[in-house]
């Protein structure tokens, strides 16, 4: 028997913590690049949704009672379309269900429109202590191309309102956009860094199948996208400017001042446990030593009615230890800490292939001190390849 097999990693998730994700599936409009589970609906009965969320919190609480909760995250869709009362009721029930960590992070994703900014005070009163604003671009022409409903000026005003109400305010930008030059991005990012409080998420535009952009791209009608080399140059510039401003790249697309990293997302990247509640939400929840992957019904109405009827609203799939190792590798190499080799080996039954690690290391793409394995800054840009190399065959 191997050493790893002798010590089954029953509570592996503890190394990553425990978070709760709530998915609000509605948007005022669908953005052309977005492939998240979002729907445009004319009327939403928020009281029905509130009741469903509360009942799901009760159910999940019974499966994970007693655990200390590190984070709550309202994602979407557009959670800033939720009534502050709904958010307050959900958070009251959360507090009644799990013990909260002293430094619990409670984030809500928000669109930076004036209407939504008006609700910020109510969210703060409900217990939200961090907002993540989908600003996406700092000029109106690009915002229109991205299908956003706000102007750059409106976004800045919403950002200021957010700062007034929350200690922690992050915002997202999408770059490598159509017709964007390296210089234009450099200028825009400098502006963003001057605005930033302590955290920035900077994503390269990805054309996903099944989106409006994906459809246009497939028929060759999405012009001006940067090629691989320009995309890589933009990434390098991003790293350079953020580092100079003290915003460390603690993840592939996320930058923060020391201590301001998103705790919720670190739960994912450190491969902790997370409960997912809401249409299409994913979870990883260890029960009785078995880590279960959950995926909720995607269609909002179907999910809602399943919960109301007390029917099953999610699929539940046990993840074998070897697959957990693969998921840990995929997530863990995204962050600057990298993966704990001991933890990985316990899950996989063996460490990553030393020959492949050596080859990647020689190519300057990964580095290891024997205890942790990390992607280097060069390696991060090739992370999909590195993970494919290191995943056991």
């Amino acid at each position: 028997m191997t050493e790893a097999a002798a010590a089954p990693p029953a509570e592996d998730w503890r190394a990553g913590g425990f978070g709760l994700y709530l998915h609000w599936p509605f948007c005022a409009a669908k953005c052309p690049y977005c492939d998240f589970n979002s729907h445009v609906s004319r009327s939403v009965d928020q009281r029905r949704w509130q009741a469903a969320f509360l009942s799901e919190i009760d159910r999940v609480g019974r499966l994970s009672g007693g655990r200390v909760l590190n984070s709550v995250f309202f994602g979407g869709g557009t959670p800033s379309l939720m009534d502050p009362d709904l958010v307050a009721a959900v958070l009251d029930r959360v507090r009644a269900t799990w013990p909260l960590a002293n430094d619990i992070e409670i984030t809500l994703e928000a669109n930076p429109t004036s209407v939504e900014a008006e609700r910020f005070r109510g969210y703060a009163e409900a217990g939200i202590n961090r907002v993540s604003l989908g600003i996406q671009a700092l000029n109106d022409a690009d915002l229109a191309r991205l299908g956003r409903l706000h102007s750059a000026a409106e976004a800045r005003r919403a950002f200021d309102v957010g700062r007034a109400h929350f200690d922690r305010v992050s915002f997202d930008l999408i770059y490598a956009r159509q017709f964007q030059s390296l210089d234009a991005w450099r200028a825009e990012l400098s502006e963003a860094l001057a605005m930033a409080v302590d955290h920035l998420s900077l994503y390269q535009l990805t054309i996903e199948p099944g989106t409006a952009f994906g459809d246009r791209f497939a028929v060759g009608r999405l012009a001006g996208l940067p090629d691989e080399d320009l995309g890589a140059d933009m990434y390098d510039t991003t790293q350079e400017l953020c580092a100079a401003a003290g915003y460390a790249a603690y993840e592939v697309s996320n930058h923060a001042l020391p201590g301001a990293e998103s705790r919720h997302n670190l739960v994912y990247w450190r491969y902790g446990d997370y409960a997912g509640i809401g249409p299409g939400a994913h979870g990883r929840l260890t029960q009785g030593g078995t880590r279960i992957a959950t995926e909720a019904v995607r269609l909002p109405e179907a999910w809602l009615s399943a919960v109301e009827r007390g029917a099953t609203c999610e699929s539940r799939t046990p993840i074998p230890a070897r697959e957990q190792a693969g998921e840990y590798l995929m997530m863990g190499l995204r962050i600057s800490d990298g993966i704990d080799l001991g933890r990985y080996s316990a899950l996989a039954g063996a460490p990553p292939d030393p020959a492949r690690v050596a080859a990647l290391s020689q190519a300057g793409l990964v580095e290891t001190d024997g205890k942790f394995l990390r992607a280097t800054p060069d390696g991060r840009l090739l992370l999909n390849r590195i993970v494919a190399e290191l995943l056991p065959d």
Binding site: T206, E228, V252, Y268, Y274, M330, A363
Partner: protein, 600 residues
Amino acid sequence: MIDRRYIRNFSIVAHIDHGKSTLADRLIQLTGTVAERDMKEQLLDAMDIERERGITIKANTVRIDYPAQDGHTYILNLIDTPGHVDFSYEVSRSMQAVEGSLLVVDATQGVEAQTLANVYQAIDADHEIVPVLNKIDLPAADIDRVAEQIEDVIGIDATDAIQISAKTGVGIPDVLEAIVQRLPPPPEGDAEKPLKAMLVDSKYDPYLGVVVIVRVIDGVLKKGQRIRMMKTGGTYDIDRVGVYRPAMKDVDELGPGEIGYITASIKQVRDTRVGDTITTEKKGCETPLPGFKPSVPVVFCGLFPVDSAQFDDLRDAIEKLALNDASFTYEVESSAALGFGLRCGFLGLLHLEVIRDRIEREYDIELITTAPSVVYHLYMKDGEMRELSNPADMPDPSHVDRIEEPRIKATILVPDDYLGEVLKLCQDRRGIQQDLTYAGSRAMVVYDLPLNEVVFDFYDRLKSVTKGYASFDYEITGYREDRLVKMSILVNDEPVDALSVMVHRDRAEQRGRAMCEKLKELIPRHMFKIPIQAAIGGKVIARETLSALRKDVTAKCYGGDVTRKKKLLEKQKAGKKKMRQFGRVEIPQEAFISALKMDG
């Protein structure tokens, strides 16, 4: 015994799509040989591939009873021959087995190169030839022009050409009558003499063993006879004697002038050689029929399973196909790039494609086919002559005195609008013009070309530069010395054996550059930069560099994405199976063929 005066043996000569199979179907149908309900198209073409491609690979035969206007019922034996140049020897034997031919020409298209090659075979066999103009029902039919062309290009009298539409049935009775009136009966044979019969073709039947198509010259073939193949020496007891109608039907005996089949518990087609003479074991005839030639493969390539675990399946498939086709050869080949595979020799490119398609289709094995090569003659300094059919096996050139390569005589018929393109193509392929004549608005060019310039993509290029209007045929004329060298391709500084080619020294730089450029497009970027070089011996003659991959990362990946991303990675891993790992470089399988295609 059937009176030879009431036998007519004939074949049909035609270009692909000019209506040979349809005419055969009509002849069978009109004479009631097959019941109406059993009719299907291309009755004689048994294999799917034959039906789909509109080509005949094996000779087929059918016996038709025809009550002629003179009151006698005649026995018409049609031998349907393979029409393609790859099988020209097989065609020549079929031609020897009959006394006349119908020359079918599409009245909307005119004479094509392949028609020429086959009609010359018929003329060589001293056939009486009856020209038949088909598709006269189509508006584009130009009967006078095509008849004139038959006289000009082929040189036979077309004044009595029969005008038909095999599709609608118009003129078919005239064809039947012409077969009886204008084609000669078989020459007088002697039923009392020792048996002498020609082995026309053979095919494998899982229930009966090998079924042999025969033409009796002298003597009588009967069930129970013990026969001997004069070339291979094998002896067998005849189980069945029969004729195709077109289903198999046993008869008591086959006498002089008759065509039919025999079975004799022969295990494999390899034991029956096309053109061999069949006689009785005892008191047999003394001299075999003239003209026998063993079949010799002229085009070689490697067949490798995409999934290397399927090598045994591939070998089984080839062995099964070999049961029915003695004309290809195979031996195990091991390539550093592609693993285990088979080096196979074929009669020509069509033959190669047919066998490859059958392996992929009937045995469900995905194949990597390496570039076809011809057989070179290497004259070594020690006086030895070696045959080289795989460039990877080229010995150290310092031991080689000279290299000879096979040459062909290529005949191309093309509308004169495209003549310039055709001449340029032939010049580019080291061709030497031998003849250029006009027949109406079409030119006939004859070129002396190296076979190695033709085996790969010549026909594709010809079709593309002439928009499909050219027709092409060739025959191998012999070997000639030239300045040939082996060019190796190095990927990431390591030679990839499956990409080695023999090239003319003067064209090596150009070919090398083209191949390196092509490979640069075909090989995906890796995590490191990859030099791609062409070299002769140790000397690099062309070089390209594939720059390193810079970016392959998922920008956004949160808890919900881990499942989806995992699926993407699994898909990516499955895609890798379509690649060949070579050192640290993965080469897509299509690169092994595409790299050699010449665009210009």
